[in-house]
Amino acid sequence: MEKRVQEIVLRDSATPAIPNLEMGGNVLLTRLDEIVNWARRNSIFPLTFGLACCAIEMMSTAAARFDIARFGMEVFRASPRQADLMIVAGRVSKKMAPVLRQIYDQMPSPKWVVSMGACASCGGIFNNYAIVQGVDQIVPVDVYVPGCPPSPDALIYALIKLQQKIRTQRLGMLLELPTRPSPAIEQGDKTPALESHASG
């Protein structure tokens, strides 16, 4: 189990950096990118993944007052096979971590992860043996939302940031997962990649 998680961290923790669109790009794919990204970012189906109190705010984000239907995101899917976005809302216990990773693996690509709240992002108040100190140890996170819980507008702000990120992603980049080795390994540091995330 530990080895597997570590491999995943090595392969995934480097979320693609946001390339500068104005710096040019592939001539053939640029226009196509724009159309595909326009479609992708305006029809994100989130996965119902409420784990704790943050989920209450996620629900109210989907309700009438804040209404993420305005961004085409109101269809919360119960099945990972139909979802594009995993909003990890709440604390992830060590027992939940393999489940979370499996559900992430079941989602079809392209997929994004928003880590909502202090607990999901870095452990929050639960700096103890039972809670994963940051969900980015198991899945690559695209946007972090601080707060306990983040208010619905803060979550919508994060989703708009995610839309901006999708806007700058390229078709090719999602197919080639980056294989940048973790800096800790490069420097010959013996601490496993998992530990280096745990603090902070």
Partner: protein
């Protein structure tokens, strides 16, 4: 069975409620364009305050760091000298860092601070792409220096 009384009338009754709610004023906050009203005691991103004369209120006492339930504040104090004076007291915070990601915005630091230096304001748009981006240093937290009256007049 009476079709009119048992079927159409209840349906009409239900649809009337739907229609009434449809015509009511809407509650939706169109967030990026308009913001919902924030309550006066909303607690979001921290600000380190200054006195009117520009000196920092923070005296580097670390009481906020002690009160913080998640230990996300780091304070490193240094002595004020007569040539380099940052705060009216003996010491000032040389380094003052808050991990905004781990912070739970409880406001305990605000309650603990003896000089009222750290306050939580209503800036909630904090989401970002990397975890490193959430370490707020003293420079990011301090409110800008007040502009002196005569300077402000020249600028005007």
């Amino acid at each position: 069975m009476n079709i009119l009384r048992d079927v159409l009338k209840p349906i009409g009754k239900g649809l009337r409620i739907t229609l009434r709610h449809f015509l009511e004023p809407k509650d939706t906050v169109f967030y990026p364009e308009e913001r919902k009203e924030q309550f006066p005691r909303t607690r979001w991103r921290h600000v380190l305050l200054r006195y009117e004369n520009g000196l920092e209120r923070c005296i580097g006492c670390s009481l906020c760091a002690g009160a913080c339930p998640v230990r996300c504040i780091y304070v490193e104090a240094a002595e004020n000298t007569d040539t380099e004076r940052y705060s009216p007291g003996e010491r000032y915070a040389k380094r003052y860092e808050i991990n905004l990601l781990r912070c739970i915005y409880c406001g305990y630091c605000q309650d603990a601070c003896p000089t009222g230096a750290i306050v939580l304001r209503e800036d909630y748009e904090l989401a970002d792409y990397t975890r490193d981006a959430f370490i707020a240093t003293k420079e990011m937290l301090l409110e800008p220096l007040p502009v002196r009256d005569e300077v402000a007049e020249v600028a005007r």
